[in-house]
Symmetry: C2
Subunit: 254 residues, 2 copies
Amino acid sequence: MTGSLTVVGLGPGAAELTTPAVSLALHEATDLVGYETYLDRVPQTTPGQRRHISGNRVEIDRARLALGLAAEGRKVALVSSGDPGVFAMAAAVFEAIETGEAQWRALDVRVQPGVTAMLAAAAHAGAPLGGDFCAISLSDNLKSWETIERRLEAAARGDFVIALYNPASRVRPEQLARAFAHLRQWKAPETVVLFVHAAGTADTRLTVTTLDAADQPVADMRTLVVIGSSKTRTIARDGITPWVYTPRSEDSPS
Amino acid sequence: MTGSLTVVGLGPGAAELTTPAVSLALHEATDLVGYETYLDRVPQTTPGQRRHISGNRVEIDRARLALGLAAEGRKVALVSSGDPGVFAMAAAVFEAIETGEAQWRALDVRVQPGVTAMLAAAAHAGAPLGGDFCAISLSDNLKSWETIERRLEAAARGDFVIALYNPASRVRPEQLARAFAHLRQWKAPETVVLFVHAAGTADTRLTVTTLDAADQPVADMRTLVVIGSSKTRTIARDGITPWVYTPRSEDSPS
């Protein structure tokens, strides 16, 4: 088979955060597959390139479409936001391969990494991920709320900085408040909490607060929430949002 | 003050994984500050640009040098590998600001994110970070081994995929073996373990093994180690290294 599939991550939003490797893969593809919002971000530079726009929210179907095109000999780029391996399309592709046609295992499948939202959000705020950290998706359509609570507790007990992806949805607007309530069992009220809306775009908005004050969050699916470790600190600045960072050493002043 | 400091992440190694935003910041800088290995990766495109090569391994000194230059009115880029916010220079910069001269708080300080090693390593292997995950640095010159063990235990109890940065050093070659021994108390022997050497470069080497067989690792400071969750799986392929992924759903076959 001469077809190929490259799963690419566009990065968080701004074109200048898309790696040249991803831009090249997009340019060389005969077929682009992706959710409409993401394909809209890809410049049309390749004459004759086909776009398979998926309004469909079922990731596994999109993955199968892309694999089927590659099996037909097409050079396919499957387009994710952020990094494709972090709560995005790459895992769906390998699930589709494992449960799909045997010939798909012989395909040339590659993943091109990108800047995931957590890194852009952290960069905007300072260096909140400066120590050990974890990333948890609050979307509970793929795992139970019990699993999410178990991970939040483990992350709190390990004193990790916690990045929360998919913190709120129209279907489940209350789950972020539940996550905060759960974390308050182990973490101090003054723990630093960040809301970063549209990280890595021209519209980034940062809110710095604390765990006890984080009850009325303005979070949507484009918001990345960071909950500090016990060491995460703010640096006050005249008239502007403070910087937030987590010291590298556990012996720093706190 | 008209000076500025941008802390940039070059990405994991290959030039095509450096974002255009970082390339622009490097091009526009009057002064580059960084560890020699990283500055060697920056093309010389700007006549008159000064390079402050630091053989010095003390990150906080490098941060102070960069801040001092910015305070003099220079346009400084401080160069990190990977993402500057993940076990790299950004946290050191904010530590230096907090403990340093008051005027440094008025400086224009920005962080430009990059592709961190964990994302490039995962992309090379498939999608091992497909579920919730955490990142832990095994370097114990900034935190105690007790803290590292506490975090490994928490990560295991939460069934996170675990990415280990700085898994081995000349000074402490034994600590990765200690980490594996510690994790075996909670994680199954057949847990998938990956060693990814020089992720995101032309020299990437991937080894896929299991936790019980991971005793004689070939790991150095350029190796990223990934320890799967209970759901992390391999997909066998004829004659080549299997793909590794973590399903998005906890209900997938296992």
